[in-house]
């Protein structure tokens, strides 16, 4: 497979002072649709050292999604590197790497061609160098194990011996990818980089950073969203051994909201600076703060959901296909149901924290962030800095799930470090972390269907009402976002279809949560389809397959279409794997859901047992995934396992409730997470094909929720239309 680059200046080869060959890749010119930046910058993705070791740059932040292993694997594959002599180096944030955010299951989607092109380009240069040196035609060479290999004579030349020649080679304009069936690294179970450090306490997370002269801090924020500080008495706090200073943080002093859509006030509170984390926590407990809640709507969950319900008839239309009114008039019957999904916190295992050294107009940041771009932008806006005055390091991150898309905690830290002129490590307590999240929006959703004589859908209307994470300036108004998108399932499959959004204003800070809108919207859609199957006295999978219709490409939006055959394949396979058609003892049931997401297709079956006290035990989960080529099966499987468990756990327990304008939960006793004894066996299979790899961080999560709810129905005859299942 050839990838022709019209741009000659795609890579630059240089030899470093120590004699290593460094391949700088011009990332933007690998992205065909992107306009070229004015300044040409080359990111040094590949370094071949004179001792044969190869350093590969991991450009995106590692949040547990395995990207620090997967992206370098792709580079190494095309290069023909010996993985055992590869060192992966985490990049700092730098515009030379182009996009470095982590989210939306995009890492592999955006970087597959890019990493292949970069690796292949350097491979070709090395082959050409070898061909010159040995005076043999380039066609007779391949690379393998960090060597150029002459296939006819079995002669080899290690990469490191080709550095001088390679640096003189004119750069190729055309690259040829390796055939996928010759892959030696991609597609193998490669243990993640850092594994040895992760099992021995040696992996450095952001929260572990220690700098000379560093002081420790924590913040006590007004638990009420939109609340501020009226006054505070810090006499007792200052008496705590080790407390150095108390500093009030006031959002208004920094120009109010800065951080994009629905940005909460990010600094209203009182910070305690101390010589240890514990002293700062202790100091914070001794603070007596009078909060100013005059700006709060003093919302509570019941009232919020009443407003969501009230908004159902008052919507904007996000997608309109055919005519649902007409479908209704000619329908043999109709059915509708209303569902509720709660607000959710992220509760990443590593609480929000950041370390900043902001001295002499230089701001150096060690941030556990998914979104270094936003962090840089925030620092520029907040302090009027120039990009070159900001240095952002990307340490390993203890879970993100969308929470670290927002950079509020880093802003706090930068303000404090600048104020006291020392490096500061700010650590939020778990309580602050849960009370000051950017929550997954709760919503009320109504689906109505018109059905023909056979009970199949002729008209589909899905209305979602809530406060949107996309609404800019959430409480003041501004243009409304939407939490239901024009491409949402089953768009494209039903001739008469309407997706509508009812927008409500709220104080609750809202944000991306793993799988974003699908985390909330898959539950109603796939439970509704299950209800239709039962109404129709049909097997749920049979009904779903009939609903999908024949194998074909289904146009969704613009040039985005999806291949129904791929969805059918995963469904049929999971049916078989889970023993779907075999009977279960009384009190047990199986539930099913299948979806597409981030370009991948996934079908899941959950099996449960429900006892007389309505206690649900999840017995097993089966999942079949088609995400194209699986780059690292071990990491990919981990993403599916994690996504499924996160979905199941959210469905069972996940709920943030609001009272008097604040979150009621604060730690793992009231924001429950699944524990070992509740975890079922999970059986996962990947469909083998040669299609380009697609996203996997998010797609496994959404179907787990309706699959569980449907399983409980199958076991008990009780429909679940409101989450969480366990109150």
């Amino acid at each position: 497979m050839k990838n022709t680059l019209k741009r000659r200046n795609f890579i630059k080869l240089t030899v470093s002072a120590s004699g290593a060959l460094i391949a700088g890749v011009h990332l933007q010119s690998c992205m065909p649709k992107k306009p070229l930046a004015e300044v040409h910058q080359f990111s040094p993705l590949i370094k071949i050292d004179t001792d044969g070791w190869i350093s590969l740059i991991a450009k995106n932040p590692e949040i547990g999604q395995g990207v620090k292993t997967a992206l370098p694997m792709i580079l190494a594959e095309e290069l023909g590197a010996n993985w055992n002599k590869v060192e992966v180096v985490q990049a700092d944030y730098d515009t030379i790497y182009d996009e470095q955010w982590a989210g939306g299951s995009y890492a592999i989607i955006l970087n597959w061609d890019l990493m292949r092109t970069a690796g292949a380009m350097v491979r070709q240069v090395l082959i050409e160098a070898a061909s010159k040196k040995m005076n043999l035609p380039v066609e007779e060479f391949i690379t393998k194990n960090s060597k150029v290999f002459h296939t006819k004579s079995n002669k080899t030349l290690p990469f490191e011996e080709l550095i001088a020649e390679a640096s003189q080679i004119p750069l190729p304009e055309e690259v040829e990818f390796k055939p996928t069936d010759s892959f030696e690294i991609v597609g193998k179970n490669i243990p993640q980089v850092d594994l040895d450090k992760l099992v021995s306490g040696g992996a450095e997370f952001a929260i572990d950073i220690k700098l000379p002269e560093m002081v420790y801090a924590t913040v006590l924020k007004n638990p009420v969203f939109e609340g501020g500080v009226s006054s505070y008495d810090d006499a007792d706090a200052r008496l705590v051994n080790g407390v150095i200073d108390i500093i009030e943080l006031n959002n208004a002093a920094y120009g109010g909201r800065l951080l994009g859509p629905n940005s909460p006030n990010f600094v209203n509170g009182v910070a305690v600076i101390a010589n240890s984390t514990w002293a700062s926590f202790k100091g914070a407990k001794k603070l007596k703060v009078v909060w100013d809640n005059s700006n709060s709507r003093k919302e509570n969950t019941t009232e919020l959901f009443e407003r969501f319900h009230a908004q159902l008839p008052n919507t904007s239309i996000e997608r309109k296909d055919g005519d649902i009114a007409k479908a209704k008039r000619s329908a043999a019957s109709s059915f509708e149901a209303i569902y509720e999904v709660p607000f959710l916190a992220h509760a990443t295992m590593e609480p929000m924290n950041c370390t900043v050294d902001f001295r002499d107009d230089l701001c150096e940041v060690w941030a556990p962030t998914q979104n270094p771009e936003a962090l840089q932008e925030g620092l520029i806006k907040l302090f009027g800095l120039k990009p070159e005055q900001i240095k952002i390091h990307l340490p390993r991150i203890g879970g993100a799930f969308g929470r670290r898309y927002y950079v509020d905690y880093a802003m706090d830290t930068a303000i404090l470090s600048k104020k006291i002129g020392k490096p500061v490590k700010l650590t939020w307590t778990r309580e602050e972390d849960i009370r000051h999240d950017w929550y997954r929006p709760g919503s009320v959703q109504k689906i109505s269907a018109s059905l023909d004589k056979e009970g199949m859908v002729t008209g589909w209307q899905h209305i979602l009402a809530n406060a949107s994470r996309k609404t800019s300036l959430g409480r003041e108004g501004g243009p409304a976002g939407t939490e239901i998108d024009e491409y949402d399932f089953p768009a494209g499959l039903v001739p008469n279809l309407q997706l509508e959004y009812g927008h409500v204003l709220s104080d609750v800070p809202l944000g991306q949560w793993r799988a974003v809108a699908a985390s909330a919207n898959a539950f109603p859609v796939h439970c509704f389809l299950d209800e239709l199957a039962f109404l129709n006295k049909m097997d749920s999978i049979d009904y779903f397959l009939k609903f999908l219709g024949p194998k074909r490409m289904v146009p969704v939006v613009g040039d985005y279409e999806f291949d129904v055959e791929r969805l059918i394949t995963v469904v049929e396979k999971v049916r078989q794997m889970s023993g779907w058609d075999t009977p279960l003892p009384k009190g047990q049931g199986r539930g099913f859901a299948a979806r597409k997401g981030a370009g991948s297709f996934i079908a899941e079956v959950v099996t449960v047992r429900v006892d007389e006290n309505e206690k649900t035990k999840i017995l097993r989960v089966d999942a079949v995934v088609d995400c194209g080529i699986v780059v690292n099966p071990s990491g990919a499987k981990a993403q599916v396992e994690g996504g499924i468990l996160e979905g199941l756990c959210a469905a069972l327990y996940g709920e943030i409730t609001i009272k008097d304008g604040a979150a009621e939960q604060s730690n793992f006793h009231d924001y429950k997470w699944m524990r070992m004894g509740e975890v079922p066996g999970i059986h996962i299979e990947f469909i083998k094909n040669e299609l380009p790899p697609r996203g996997l961080g998010e797609p496994p999560l959404p179907p787990a929720i309706p699959a569980l709810a449907n399983a409980i129905y199958a076991a008990t005859g009780k429909r679940i239309r409101k989450l969480p299942i366990v109150k």
Partner: protein, 154 residues
Amino acid sequence: MPSYTLTVNSVKKTVSVDADTPLLWVLRDELGLTGTKYGCGKGLCGACTVQYKGNAVRSCTLTVDSVLEGNITTIEGLSEGQNHPVQQAWMELDVPQCGYCQSGQIISAATLLSKNPNPTEEEINAGMAGNICRCGTYTRIREAVQLAASKLDE
């Protein structure tokens, strides 16, 4: 501030901290042993698990003055060069995702196996119940504990 002498990974260490300072923060901020993690501060999540006198304990809930009598084993001191069977099993099965909970998980597993070298699945569930993994590595942890047990058998 009073000073305390603790035995951490078989080495005596003296620190000057308030009596109510949790062991967790002594390890992390005073001794630089950052493998032990802060997750909840309330004994709810297990991220801070260390061994004290051979038992798995939550270092966020034990004050420094209560752990002066016996050896404290942290993840850094569990073995030389990751050669504890639990660490080996963890690496073989590529258990961690984000990795943040894993020090606590490994210490809990090592403690469980030191008391019960052949745990049933139920016993593993019970022994590991104090440790939350937000990323969902549970199924691999369960497998890794079984694998480590089989390594101990050899």
